[in-house]
């Protein structure tokens, strides 16, 4: 909402000389009743004048300014954004100014599809020169909300369409340093190592990425994202994932720490299902985690793992029971 200061300064459209030739058009389903609070009157009046220029298809400078006023009051109104684009085209406006306009609106309205689509439309027209600005813009959004879905979608589009890959892996690193739990940053990291024309591709990056991910896991083993990322690094090559000693060893380390083992156990389960031959150390680590009590003793390591998971992750007990049942049918 506008600040009090701005409210005081606003001159009603009906009193502005440049709008004297226009008759405002009220909403079709009946005239809005008079409401006592000033900002509502202002809103209704602005919309009524907008309807007038929209119906007249007036693509002028004053109409452009009016769309800015509507958007400022109600950035979700997609029809106004459409019309604004039509006017920008008709006036052949300087779209660099438009980037500034969007930046201002985004400050209070960033969770809004219209803003992002409009931004993309503008950036497309400005071309590769706007890449740096777009990366900067999304960075500013991430400084407030590092998981902002629209902003990530925009950033990916910018990289693919306009370029600017140079610092992207470094930027992911920075975000993960700030919050290692940021799933969006992990997703972006995968995006970069697979799609950046400046890096060697997934297989070339695999070794260094595995080391990085293992470090991340060891700091917070309860973090879902790096476990999935680790698996993702072996896309299309499960055997290498099973055989990589770094993978099984990070599981073992976490199990031995006995805290926050859930993902370590589920990863171990997957490894075993794909043929990992476990050492005695794994058996010992899992035995330490076994819940005490009158459970039927499981002799198989893999069954023991399922039982423990059922016990420590009871909300998903049905899932772990199903994993266990699949083992019986496989043998």
């Amino acid at each position: 909402m506008e600040s009090d200061e701005v409210k005081l300064q606003r001159v009603p459209l009906s009193q502005r000389p440049e709008w004297s030739d226009v008759t405002p058009v009220p909403q079709d389903d009946g005239p809005s009743p008079v409401v006592p609070i000033a900002y509502k009157e202002e809103f209704v009046e602005t919309m009524d004048y907008f309807r007038a220029v929209y119906l007249a298809d007036e693509r002028s400078a004053r109409a452009l300014r009016l769309t800015a006023e509507v958007i400022d009051l109600n950035a979700g109104n997609y029809t106004v954004w459409h019309f604004r684009r039509s006017i920008l085209e008709a006036l052949d406006a300087d779209l660099n100014d438009e980037l500034d306009f969007i930046e201002n609106i985004a400050r209070s309205n960033s969770k809004n599809y219209q803003i992002w689509h409009h931004r993309r439309w503008v950036a497309e027209r400005l071309g590769t020169d706007s890449a740096r600005k777009e990366l900067e813009f999304t960075k500013n959004i991430f400084s407030i909300d590092a998981k902002h879905y629209h902003a990530w979608s925009h950033r990916q589009w910018v990289l693919l369409a306009l370029g600017g890959w140079e610092d992207e892996l470094g930027y992911c690193q920075q975000l993960l340093e700030e919050d290692i739990f940021n799933n969006s940053a992990w997703n972006q990291r995968f995006f970069v190592i697979t799609k950046s024309p400046l890096l060697g591709g997934l297989e070339a990056m695999r070794e260094s990425e595995v080391s990085y991910t293992v470090e991340a896991i060891l700091t917070y083993p309860e973090n879902e994202s790096p476990w999935r990322y680790l698996r993702g690094l072996y896309k299309g090559d499960t055997q290498s994932w099973v055989n990589d000693p770094q993978v099984s060893s990070v599981c073992l380390k976490v199990l031995n720490a006995t805290n926050n083992c859930m993902f370590a156990l589920s990863t171990l389960l997957d490894l075993l299902c794909h043929g990992l031959q476990p050492s005695q150390e794994f058996n010992d680590a899992v035995d330490t985690l076994k819940p005490s009590g009158p459970d039927q003793p499981d002799s198989d390591l893999v069954k023991k793992v399922c039982s423990i998971l059922e016990h420590i992750d009871p909300i998903r007990a049905n899932y772990w029971k199903w994993r266990k049942s699949k083992l019986s049918s496989a043998t």
């Binding site: 109600n74 689509h117 909300i315």
Partner: protein, 313 residues
Amino acid sequence: MGELVTEKHVQYILSVEKRKDDFISVAMEYLRMNGAYWGLTTLDLLGKLDAVDVDEVVSWIMKCQHESGGFGGNIGHDPHILYTLSAVQVLALFDKLNVLDIENVTNYIAGLQNEDGSFSGDEWGEVDTRFSYIAICCLSILHHLNKINVEKAVSYIVSCKNLDGGFGCTPGGESHAGQIFCCVGALAITGSLHHIDKDLLGWWLCERQVKAGGLNGRPEKLPDVCYSWWVLSSLIMIDRVHWISKEKLVKFILDCQDTENGGISDRPDDAVDVYHTYFGVAGLSLLEYPGLKAIDPAYALPVDVINRIFFGR
């Protein structure tokens, strides 16, 4: 455990429908078509659709249609695929699909398919897997899936599949429960669920359930009632819903009710709105909460409405 305060929710929705003058209604008037779908579908699930004047609603809907065949969010708004689906869904609720010029609507939607199989939201070109779902759902209801290139539509959706088994808005986009619902729904409707690794996706989806019982949309995010729909319907479509704790989810949804004034919010003690009221009730329907009509997880319409569309003639 609490209970569903049905009557209060009905009153809440009816009051929102009537209330056109308060600031929130005025500010949201551009998406009234979506609001109509959320409110009216909820009423139908609660068995109270007859509280509404059918003719008034249908007449208003048709005023939102453009020559192109697409519908706007309200009178005076540009056409968009989002509101076109809601319009068709509401007409389906009332068994009034016959008021439509089917050729007109289906041509509008088919015209939004791009070369790579994806769909734009409107003439301005925004692409998102949400629009793939909308196009497929809408054309299916109107029995005209044959107007698009289904194979390409499916392959575009599959290209948005991520390594965690989930789907994003575009290829490479982070897996998000809302986008997953759209992709799974579209694949379900086109008979293409074999492209999904159901065990992998099922596990990702059931990992959305947090200790308190609610569901989030991505790892390390807060639970929100709307995910009771997006996650739950996805799990049902891939036949893995038994992997979450249904009881705990029911309790979470019921805790999100405003038991005094009606309506449901995103999480307990927040302000209610029609959107979350719909998703809460729809989620409870999927969880087979007593007294609610069954809802179809792919079409997001009551099962009897879907049966009428596909088997009633």
